[in-house]
Structure formats: C-alpha cells, structure tokens
C-alpha cells in the first residue's frame, strides 16, 4: 500500500512540476493552471490523509512529503500569472517527485 501511495505521489508531483514549468514559461492559461493544480492538490491531500494512518517511519516520511506536495500544488493553483513563483514551485515539485520515486523503490 505504501509503495502504491509513493508511486501515486510521485505521479502527482511530477504532473504538478510539468504544469508549473509550463506556467513559468507563459505556455499555459491561468485558468487551466488554477483548475488542474487544484485537482492535483486535492488528490495529494487525500493521499496525505491515507498515509497519516500509517505508523511506520516510511509512512511518516511519505505523509510529510504528501503534505508539502499538496501545499505546493495549492500555491501553484493560486499563483495566477506569477511566473517566478511557478518557476520555484516547478523545482520544488520536481524534487518531491524524485524523493517519492526513491522512497517507492526502497519500499
């Protein structure tokens, strides 16, 4: 279950990073970024709720990662046309995806 959650989290963070990178380069619309990032943030929030029920150290690490990812996606959703924020979030979400991938492989 933890492995599946890690994979799901990696997917959400990676998709968010791709969206944020497009927003940073002005290649997306404000509405698309707002709606799609909110959808991804909601899924990351659901993942956090599920992971928070786990009692292992890995579950705690993943819970924290899910929380950060949900918060980053939520910020992206509200970033409007602020390209600098989108650029920073693209980098953060990219790192979150890489961390989730590493954790998923270890589990």
């Amino acid at each position: 279950v933890l492995e599946q959650q890690a994979t799901g989290l990696q997917s959400l963070a990676a998709e968010g990073a791709l969206l944020a990178a497009d927003a940073a380069r002005g290649r997306s619309t404000v509405t698309f970024v707002r709606v799609h990032a909110a959808e991804l943030a909601q899924a990351a929030g659901t993942s956090e709720t599920l992971l928070a029920k786990g009692r292992t150290a890995d579950a705690r690490v993943l819970t924290a990662l899910a929380r950060r990812t949900a918060a980053d996606l939520d910020r992206l959703s509200h970033s409007g046309s602020d390209r600098a924020t989108a650029r920073r979030l693209a980098a953060d979400l990219g790192r979150a995806a890489a961390t989730a991938e590493r954790l998923g492989k270890r589990l």
Partner: protein, 408 residues
C-alpha cells in the same frame, strides 16, 4: 462531385467523431504505462470497428433493419431483453462519463464550478439535440472535434524514435505486469469497439434511408474515416509515451492529455486540445443518449427517429431526454468521470457479443441481404473478430478486479 463531397464530409466528421472519453482515457494511460508496446491493439480495434460498422451499415441499407430490431428477432425476447438492459446500463454510464467530461473541459476553460457546468452542459446538449437536424449535429461536433488533430502535431513534435513506434505495431511479450498489460489490451479494444457507435451508425443509416447506391459511401466512410480517426488514438499513445512515461506520470485526469499537448505546443496547443476534447466528448454524449433511445424504441417496436417530430415519436424523444437527465444525476454525485469511463468501457465489452452476433448472422443471410451478403473475406474477418470479442468479454471483468482497474 456531389457524392465525392458527401463522402469527404462524412470522412471528416468520422475522424472528428472517432475519439470519445474512453479513447482519451485508455490510450493515454496505455502510453504512459507501456510506452509504444500496445500500438498493435489500436490497429486490431480499428479494423474491428471498420468491419462491423461497414457490416451494420450494409445491413441497414439493404434490409432497412437497425441493430436492435435484429437483436430481438435473432436472439429471442429473453436474451434480447438481457442485451437491451446491459446495453442501456452501458449507454447510461458512457453518457454520464461524456457529460462529466464536457463539464471538466468547460471548467478547465472557464474556471466555473463543476456541477454548475455539468447542468449547463446537459441543458445545452438537450437544446442542440432537440433543435438541430442530424447533419448539423454531425458536422458541428465532428468538424470541431478535428481540433484534436493537434494531438498528431504534438506527437510528431515529441520526435519519437519511429523505429520504436513501428515495433509497437507488432504484438510482443509484455515487459512489465502481464495482467495489467492484458487489462489495457481489453480496455483499448473496448474503447475502439464501443457498442453505442454501432447502434447509432446503424439507426442513422436507416433514418437517412440508405439503399444499395450508398454502399460505396458506407465502405469508404468506415474505412477511411475510422482509419484516420485511429491516428488520433496512436497520437495520444505516442504523446503519453514521450511526455508522461519518462516522468512517471499516471494520467488520471481528463486535463492530463491536454497538459501533454501544452508541454509540446504551448498555450495555442492547449486551447485547441481542450476545444477538440470538448466537441469530441459532447458529440459522443449526444450519440450515447440517442443510441439508448434507439435501442429501447426498436426493441419494443415504438415509433422512432430523430427526423420524426417528437409528437409523432413521443416515447423515443422522452427516452433520450431521460438518458441525459439520468446521466446528469450520476455526474452530480461527484463520482470521478474518468473512473466512470473505465467501468463503462469494461462493462461495454461484456455486452459486445450479443450486439455483434445478430449483425454477423444477418449480414450472412441471403434472405435479407441477397447478393449483398458477406463475401468469404468479410465473413472470415467477422468470425475471427467475433471469437476475439467473446474472449475479451469473458476476461474483461476478472481482469478489472484482479488488476484493481489497471493500477496493479
């Protein structure tokens, strides 16, 4: 010249109308999970829908009988009723998925609340279905659906290794989870061979009063229209394989294929993709509601037809309105349309054999078809596909359960 123009217009609307929410979901997920490995399934699926659409168009043109008329006659009342119930459930689920898809795309374009947009979408679909003639519905949704050709441009611009793409057209032993692989094989075939397309195509042919002179147009539209339409499925898979697979993205949202286009072509690509998806999915919503109404009316022998005034075919008109309203009810529960799509595609596979068997039997029957009955080649292909359809119908639900809907 006029007939050539008619054929060209038919082909264009068939291309634009080829992709529905099932194709969008399954082709994107298949590409993101298995790269180019499942390209061959698109070919098998499109050849199947060409064979059976051509057959049911020919049956409609010569015998003047639509599919559900034949279902009741050929398989009897009880089995026919079972097929009708299964088909109506699948039609309703598919219609709900398409309506939900329209609402999601409208939300991605406007930012307004999902449920408000679902309601507006159904009202708009009811109004256009009620007020516009068939040709206009077909043309508006088919031609605007051509915006999806942006998928082909985006797929080419990802610069895939074409030799790897070509290898995907040859069936191979799967590298990853085999059960998930076979789940996607079934899903992709189910998305290509959707029963509602057959019901709609056949009933439309009867409504349009097709005769022997229309058989060439039937063949050309089915072969070229669906064939070129399959290009969109291939493009979706290439795009997903090139953009999502390397990043580990599992495309679980309807906005994700549009994001793939955006990543390659930017804002203009994104808007074209969203508009294309909107009309493709909206057109499919209308087709599913009408297909459901056609089935009920034909099975019970009611007066039917889009060309008939609602006062002359009231139960038919009420049926497609009820299907839209029930679909809206499902969407309003907030259940994820992508999940509804997965269920509707897999359940539709189960209903396929009883839909396709009567077509195959009548297309072979000299009493109905005279000199227009199936030739040896058509028959061999029809039977081969029927065996394939039986196999996937038996395995569809167990695979969905075992693989947890393809998630492994």
């Amino acid at each position: 010249v006029r007939q050539f123009l008619q054929i060209a217009l038919g082909i264009l609307s068939a291309i634009g109308g080829f992709v529905d929410i099932g194709d969008l979901v399954f082709n994107t997920q298949a590409g993101a999970t298995f790269g180019f490995e499942l390209m061959w399934v698109v070919v098998i699926g499109v050849v199947g829908i060409i064979i059976y659409s051509e057959m049911c168009g020919r049956v409609a043109a010569i015998s003047k009988r639509p599919v559900f008329d034949l279902v009741r006659e050929r398989v009897g009342f009880s089995a026919g009723l079972g097929t009708l119930i299964a088909s109506e459930i699948v039609n309703l689920l598919t219609c709900a998925a398409e309506v939900g898809g329209v609402a999601i795309v409208l939300q991605l374009l406007s930012g307004l609340p999902y449920r408000v947009l679902a309601l507006l979408a159904v009202v708009a679909l009811l109004v256009v279905s009620w007020s516009l003639p068939f040709e206009w519905l077909e043309r508006i949704f088919g031609y605007m659906g051509l915006c999806l050709l942006v998928l082909v441009v985006a797929a080419i611009k990802t610069h895939p290794s074409w030799s790897h793409v070509a290898h995907g057209f040859v069936p191979s032993v799967p590298g990853g989870n085999r059960l998930v692989y076979f789940y996607f094989v079934v899903g992709l075939l189910g998305a290509a061979l959707t029963p509602y397309e057959v019901y709609f195509y056949s009933s439309g042919a009867v409504e349009d009063g097709w005769g022997p002179k229309d058989l060439r147009m039937n063949k050309v539209t089915a072969v070229i229209g669906y064939g070129l339409g399959a290009l969109l499925s291939v493009a979706l898979m290439v795009l997903a394989a090139m953009v999502f697979l390397p990043r580990g993205i599992d495309p679980a949202y309807l906005g994700t294929p549009a994001l793939g286009v955006e990543a390659i072509l930017g804002k203009v690509g994104l808007i074209l993709a969203l508009v294309g998806i909107l009309f493709a999915v909206g057109g499919a919503a209308i087709e599913t509601s009408f297909a459901g109404a056609y089935n009920v009316a034909q099975f019970f022998g009611w007066q039917w037809g889009k060309r008939e005034r609602p006062s002359k075919a009231p139960r038919f008109a009420l049926s497609w309105i009820v299907i839209f309203v029930l679909a809206l009810g499902i969407v309003m529960t907030g259940y994820d349309p992508v999940k509804i799509t997965e269920y509707s595609v897999i359940f539709s596979v189960v209903a396929l054999p009883l839909t396709f068997l009567p077509i195959l039997l009548v297309a072979n029957d000299p009493v109905y078809m005279g000199r227009y009955r199936n030739g040896r080649f058509s028959n061999a292909l029809g039977v081969a596909y029927f065996i394939l359809i039986l196999a996937i119908a038996i395995t569809a639900i167990p695979l969905m359960v075992i693989t947890n809907g393809g998630t492994g």
